[in-house]
């Protein structure tokens, strides 16, 4: 007999485990001003560091004069590349197999590059010192356009690489060429194109943008000369990898390096890399024997730490005249800036861009990505996406729209005709990815029904028929598939470390628990969702499960949080660690109840003797026994560690539809409706998922409608404050409607796939699709982002639609 269902329900409820929209455990401190962010950390004797930066984009350093700065009261030191040279720290290796200047060595390569650092008593005197450091330059010709960079007579940017014809990813064909990376089958693809009745092509620019979390990057480095130990509090999405890098660079044994990521005010890819500011603060602390804090300001953040995108793409689709897609061919020129510091798994210099065959079943595909140097800041991070997946999804979704327009087909119809069908999963794509699961047709039908798609099209037709209508109406549709959860160590590593993740769970004698993780939350709510997973797995209320992350001295090694990998990788590690504990708990329960393990059933929070409701032991009882008197042959204690190496990536998908109205007089776009259906597999906390989708959609809206880092011909960044760089306010941000289907991942222990980046990845092409759709009756097939009112107004003028 089962326990009465009400009692069972009450026990379930008490756990607040998986599937429950429980409120967040981290909120109490944040709503009371008790967070602990890097800039809140204050150590005894702490000094402040500020950075002297290059005013020009390309030039030789003629002279650096420190005297005036050193004369300022409160200034302790000024460090330049010359000072770092004896330590061999004036250059550092990048994650992409290149080197990057820590402080400019003889030459500056981009505007705002780090030239010197000033360490002083407080941030004001450090800033005074920065003003007083005199640097003179001999200006050199600047290269901003990546196509220009590859011309035979282009100025050579990286003189330090002179004569190096082999890069980290193969042959370099030009001094400004970094790599050419290819995926797919070129010959098969060419053959498909040759035979295809229909071919479309389109050039697409994905502009350079910046993740711009509200908290900038920074650190507090503290070297203890007596113990020889270095502790650094840092805004890092990957503290364990940083520890390894710091140890390799500094020669301090990894056991004496402690990196702590405290509360982090948003990351979105900006906080993956190791930046010169971190290295200089660490060196300064070692040199001066005192803690040193460095926190960049907003202008420094946008100008120098981690841009994203800057992909110049040429896409082609081959198809039948009925709209069956046969092949995809893509060529990309990727502007990597002055140093190749892209944050990708080491073997993938263009990340997972080859997910660009999307949700479609096609015969052959090929892509080539050419990385080049320009006089811009290094970076190339995944801004709220898995590695280069946003670029890939933008490409394929734009191309499918272009093809639909060429054939006069509806954009929903052409997608449904080309989707990978439910029964084809697991599906191996033309690029070799093995998609784990999906049901695209069901999801598309659900969205089209929810918004009454035929009625929208009818309304649009009526609007177009009326020449006096003050607005144009556009309908955008995107049906995307992501690849997240990097990743299987057979394919993915960072500097040789496999991209597994980890979890250590310890159940205490009185039945509460602590979990320590290799990931680090930056707003994702790990302290809540991870506890919910354990609650369900072990029958312990999530309220009494503490989750700790970010301290390399206590947490097991993990690769960190980015690329939607926390749930796919670390979430799986939690389940596996919990199941080890569960297995031990079963042995203890069997011992206590004097039955065989096979005679026990697990029910919510307890093991019960089969067929006898009265005989049971709760996880709480078992925990006590584990520490009090475990059965003979069992170690005391109740804990486990698991390092999870995923067998595959996960492939979340979504169907997004946007309706917007464009004012024909002003070019202003107003999003009337945005319907986002996401399928991230098993859902752990629906409230948190919905919140993340809102946030991702808003970041996507920002990119599509306003974000861009424009440069003039001299390499001046023309928008590096929040006055110029677009972060939408509550006023412009649309209202979001969310929906979901659930197609669990067959290879993930919980069936979960990851979600927070889907809305960013999926929404950007949806906005473009909607804006272009408003002009489609005039034969417009593409308009470049960002779709600012001015640009849209220019398009209105160009096509005779302006009022």
């Amino acid at each position: 007999m089962n326990a009465p269902s009400k009692e069972l329900e009450a026990r379930e409820l008490a756990l607040a485990g998986m599937g429950v929209s429980r409120l967040r455990k981290e909120d109490a401190r944040f709503i009371q001003g008790k967070g602990n962010y890097v800039d809140d950390i204050r150590l005894p004797g702490m000094l402040h560091m500020d950075v002297v930066r290059a005013p020009i984009a390309h030039g030789r350093i003629v002279r650096i004069s420190k005297e005036a700065a050193l004369a300022i009261p409160g200034v302790h030191a000024v460090l330049t590349a010359e000072d770092l040279k004896p330590l061999k720290l004036h250059w550092m290796p990048t994650l992409a197999g290149d080197v990057a200047a820590v402080l400019a060595d003889e030459k500056v390569h981009f505007q705002m590059q780090e030239v010197a650092v000033v360490i002083a008593d407080d941030r004001y005197s450090a800033a005074d010192g920065v003003e007083a450091v005199e640097v003179s330059y001999e200006e050199l010709p600047v290269v901003i356009d990546p196509y220009r960079a590859l011309e035979a007579d282009a100025p050579v940017l990286r003189e330090d690489l002179a004569g190096k014809t082999e890069g980290a990813h193969g042959k370099r064909e030009h001094p400004n060429h970094i790599f050419t990376w290819e995926a797919g089958d070129r010959h098969a693809t060419d053959a498909v194109f040759q035979a295809a009745p229909v071919v479309v092509q389109q050039h697409l620019l994905y502009p350079r943008v910046h993740p711009c979390p509200l908290e900038t990057c920074g650190c507090v480095a503290s070297f203890d000369p007596v113990r020889g130990e270095l502790t650094t509090y840092m805004t890092s999405q990957a503290p364990h990898v940083v520890r390894t890098v710091v140890s390799l660079l500094s020669g301090i044994p990894e056991s004496k390096v402690r990196i702590v990521s405290p509360d982090i005010g948003g990351g979105f890819g900006n906080k993956v890399g190791v930046y010169p500011g971190y290295v200089c603060a660490i060196v300064a602390s070692i040199v001066l024997g005192r803690p040193v804090k460095w926190v960049e300001d907003r202008i420094e953040n946008i100008s120098s730490t981690a841009f994203a995108r800057d992909y110049h793409m040429d896409g082609e689709l081959a198809a039948t005249s009925e709209g069956r897609i046969l092949g995809l061919r893509v060529n990309v020129v990727a502007d990597h800036g002055a140093f190749d510091a892209c944050a990708d798994p080491t073997k993938f210099p263009a990340g997972l861009f080859h997910i660009c065959s999307g949700s479609y079943d096609l015969q052959a595909a090929y892509c080539a990505v050419k990385g080049v140097y320009t006089n811009k800041a290094p970076g190339g991070v995944a801004y709220r996406c898995s590695f280069r997946v946003t670029e890939a999804v933008y490409l394929i979704e734009r191309m499918v729209d272009v093809l639909a327009q060429k054939l006069g087909m509806d954009k929903a119809e052409i997608r449904a005709r080309n989707f990978i069908r439910k029964e084809q999963f697991p599906y191996t794509s033309a690029f070799g990815f093995e998609y784990d699961s999906g049901d695209y047709h069901t999801a598309l039908a659900k969205v089209l029904k929810a918004v009454d798609y035929p009625a929208l099209r009818a309304e649009q037709a009526a609007r177009r028929a009326n020449p006096h209508s003050p607005t144009l109406m556009g309908i955008g549709l995107v049906t995307f598939t992501e690849v997240v959860g990097a990743g299987p160590s057979k394919m993915c590593d960072i500097l040789g470390v496999g991209m597994f993740d980890s979890c250590e769970i310890r159940v205490h004698p009185t039945g509460s628990a602590i979990a320590r993780m290799g990931t680090i939350t930056q707003g994702q709510g790990h302290q809540t969702t991870y506890a919910q997973i354990i609650a369900t797995e072990l029958g312990i209320p999530s309220e009494v499960i503490q989750v700790e992350e970010g301290d390399t001295s206590t947490a097991p090694y993990g690769l960190g949080t980015y690329g939607s990998r926390s749930t796919p990788v670390a979430g799986a590690a939690i389940a596996m660690a919990a199941r080890k504990i569960h297995a031990k708990a079963r042995r203890i329960a069997a011992h206590l109840l004097e039955v065989a393990e096979g005679d026990l059933d697990w029910e919510v929070d307890r093991f019960k003797v089969k067929g006898d409701d009265a005989r049971y032991k709760t996880m709480r009882d078992i925990a006590w026994q584990a520490y009090h008197q475990p059965p003979a042959g069992l170690e005391p204690g109740l804990e486990a560690v698991h390092y999870y190496d995923p067998p595959n990536f996960t492939y979340p998908f979504g169907i997004y539809l946007c309706v917007l109205d464009i004012d024909r007089a002003t070019g202003e776009s107003k999003v009337r409706r945005f319907y986002a259906l996401d399928d991230c597999g098993t859902r752990i906390n629906p409230m948190i998922i919905e919140g993340q989708i809102h946030g991702g959609l808003t970041e996507g809206f920002a990119v599509a409608m306003g974000q861009q880092m424009p440069f003039d011909a001299q390499g001046n960044l023309l928008g590096n404050t929040l006055m110029d760089y677009y972060l939408p306010t509550a006023v412009e941000t649309p209202h979001w409607e969310t929906d979901h289907t659930v197609t669990p991942s067959p290879h993930h222990p919980l069936g979960a796939k990851g979600v927070a980046e889907s809305p960013h990845v999926g929404s950007i092409p949806t906005f473009t699709s909607a804006v272009v759709d408003a002009f489609a009756h005039k034969g417009v097939t593409h308009l470049e982002m960002p779709h600012t009112s001015f640009r849209v107004w220019k398009a209105l003028k160009e096509h005779g639609l302006a009022l």
Binding site: G691, L727, H735
Partner: protein, 161 residues
């Protein structure tokens, strides 16, 4: 650099301190008084993470000098809860999942605190406009609007009791 003596009331407590004329209010609060709940996001008055309540209005403390505040009354996020009881705006943000990374939250709360005194029964549109000096990168604002409505309801209920 010469310093000037100022006297300010912060979260109900009087503080006297000698500050440089150039010291920003946000640095005074964070470093002198060690009230680190008030955050710095942009230093140009755009993001609102540093919003505090100064003599009954919302100000961005990153572009306010501490010396300008001599004789003023200031409320920061640390002063919102009274004897451990959360203020309605704090309760609203918690209940409606109005925060994620938490960095904009203190500024949002302080703005909501003042906004709801200016407009105790706002529409969603009025909230969006009234909170538009505060940027959030995580939530997409939708739950922030709900959080402010939650607080407004709670404050109206309490007021009529």
């Amino acid at each position: 650099m010469t310093k000037k003596l100022i006297s300010v009331q912060v979260n109900g407590r009087r503080h006297e301190a000698a500050v440089e004329a150039r010291t920003l209010l946000v640095h005074f609060l964070r470093e002198e008084l060690q009230l680190t709940g008030t955050h710095i996001g942009c230093e140009t008055s755009h993001c609102g993470a540093c919003t505090v309540d100064l003599d009954g209005r919302s100000v961005k403390s990153c572009t306010h000098l501490a010396v300008q505040c001599d004789g003023s009354e200031i409320l920061t996020v640390e002063g919102l809860a009274v004897k451990g009881a959360l203020h309605a705006v704090q309760e609203g943000f918690y209940q409606e999942h109005g925060l994620q990374c938490g960095f904009c939250t203190p500024g949002m709360l302080m703005r909501a605190y003042r906004f709801l005194q200016e407009n105790p029964d706002p529409s969603d549109e009025e909230i969006r406009m009234g909170m538009s000096g505060n940027l959030c990168r995580c939530t997409g604002y939708q739950n922030i609007v709900k959080a402010v409505q939650h607080a407004a309801r709670k404050m109206r209920e309490t007021a009529t009791v």
